[in-house]
């Protein structure tokens, strides 16, 4: 990553990594569930949605951070919402220009980025208190973490539900697709299973740490 001179490199890197993994918006903070479930029926939809959200997140956090001394405290939420809605409108029209088929696949969920708790949450918790550069870095990390989470859910759902990844068939013609995975219940199940896997990994790691300290 390109760091600006005069900034403290480790802290920026930490800001970036925080959202990408340690406090992943999908699996750790469990924010922005509506798009997480609704559009993760295929890997490509998941990634496009993630990138669209990343753009909105970074742009609105930058704007809010610039205006953080100007916005009166009483009407800050309303102001944030209007700023976010502006950038979502930009993305909405942008995707229409880039790919009409993608626009139809994502449907109203692009506009619903406005109501994504992740964006408002970052605006309130980070952008309103930090200088523009730091909040853009943090927002980008969070956005990419969101994209990663969506891809992990969308990839599994597409793999099991259609036997393909990015539209390329993987298991040959004899694979019987497990259709329920690309239907609504599949979203809940895959997300639940991922959370379970992470809980198992964490339990095992903590167990290992405990054993180590006991041995020493």
């Amino acid at each position: 990553m390109n760091l600006l001179p005069g900034t403290n490199p480790p802290s920026n890197w930490a800001e970036f990594l925080e959202g990408l993994w340690q406090r992943n918006p999908v699996f750790v903070m469990v924010l922005g569930m509506c798009p997480t479930m609704a559009i993760t029926t295929s890997a490509i939809n998941a990634i496009s949605m993630g990138l669209a959200t990343t753009f909105v997140l970074a742009a609105s956090c930058w704007m809010i951070s610039l205006l953080r001394h100007v916005i009166p405290k009483e009407v800050r939420i309303a102001t944030y919402i209007v700023i976010i809605a502006t950038f979502v409108t930009v993305v909405d029209y942008g995707i229409q220009v880039i790919s009409l088929s993608l626009y139809e696949a994502l449907g109203a969920y692009i506009k619903l980025i406005v109501a994504n708790c992740l964006v408002l949450g970052r605006a309130e918790a980070h952008a309103a208190r930090n200088p523009p550069f730091a909040s853009v870095v943090n927002a980008t990390g969070m956005g990419l973490g969101f994209t990663l989470g969506l891809f992990m859910i969308g990839g599994v759902r597409e793999l099991i539900g259609m036997g393909s990844l990015f539209g390329i068939s993987l298991f040959g013609p004899h694979y019987q697709p497990w259709v329920v995975m690309i239907l609504p219940p599949g979203g809940f199940f895959v997300m639940g299973l991922w959370l379970m896997v992470f809980a198992l990994v964490r339990a095992r790691r903590d167990h290992g740490l405990a054993a180590q300290t006991q041995g020493a």
């Binding site: 469990v30 924010l31 569930m33 509506c34 798009p35 997480t36 479930m37 609704a38 939420i77 309303a78 919402i81 209007v82 809605a85 502006t86 979502v88 409108t89 909405d92 029209y93 449907g107 109203a108 506009k111 619903l112 406005v114 109501a115 994504n116 708790c117 408002l120 329920v180 239907l183 609504p184 219940p185 599949g186 979203g187 809940f188 199940f189 997300m191 639940g192 299973l193 959370l195 379970m196 809980a199 198992l200 339990a203």
Partner: protein
């Protein structure tokens, strides 16, 4: 779109349930469903806001579309919704302070509830007339309340069950929601399908 009122109502409550089939309003669905006592009133409050949002969005469309200002749609909807939520918040605070405390942060968060904005967006996308919009909003709100109450009841029942450690918390709630969603898929086709 030539859906009858009855069709819309049945679809939005059962086969096309806002939460379980369209994934709108997931945050309160995960957040406040630990007890029926809290889930049900929040469902009602959200129903009211959804209803107001639907009416406001319809009226806003009457202004925006003739002026060719559809690009302002999103900004105007969300502003109106934020105002409506503020009204509800003031009303609940005055009428029932204990409920206000129980709902906590989730009451102002109705603003960022996808279900509310979703109603406004979907009714516009599907070109519903005024009566259809009202029915859509009503059915959506009832469906939302139903899903919230059902999940809360299930969660109350499994509270003291023995579940594997790794499944505790959100993972368990998601699994329960998945099973509930699977059950609601059984209604598919009722009301003439999509």
């Amino acid at each position: 779109m030539h859906e009858s009122i009855g069709q819309i109502l049945i679809t939005t409550i059962l086969s096309g349930n806002f939460v379980l089939a369209m994934f709108l309003g997931m945050c309160p669905f995960m957040g406040v469903t630990h007890s029926v006592k809290v889930a049900f009133p929040l469902g009602l409050a959200t129903t009211f806001v959804i209803f107001m949002a639907s009416v406001c969005a319809y009226l806003l469309n009457l202004v925006l579309i003739p002026l060719h200002m559809e690009y302002l749609e999103l900004i105007s909807y969300i502003t109106v919704i934020a105002a409506a939520v503020q009204l509800v918040e003031m009303y609940v605070k005055k009428q029932s302070p204990e409920l206000f405390r129980a709902l906590g942060i989730y009451l102002p968060l109705i603003t960022t509830n996808c279900a509310v904005l979703g109603v406004a967006l979907f009714q516009t996308a599907r070109d519903y007339n005024f009566l259809q919009s009202l029915t859509f909003a009503m059915g959506g709100g009832v469906g939302f309340t139903l899903a919230l109450t059902l999940l809360a009841s299930v969660r109350e029942r499994v509270r003291f069950s023995r579940v594997p450690n790794a499944m505790m918390g959100t993972a368990l709630t998601l699994m329960l929601a998945g099973i509930l969603s699977l059950a609601f898929m059984g209604f598919a086709g009722l009301g003439g399908g999509e």
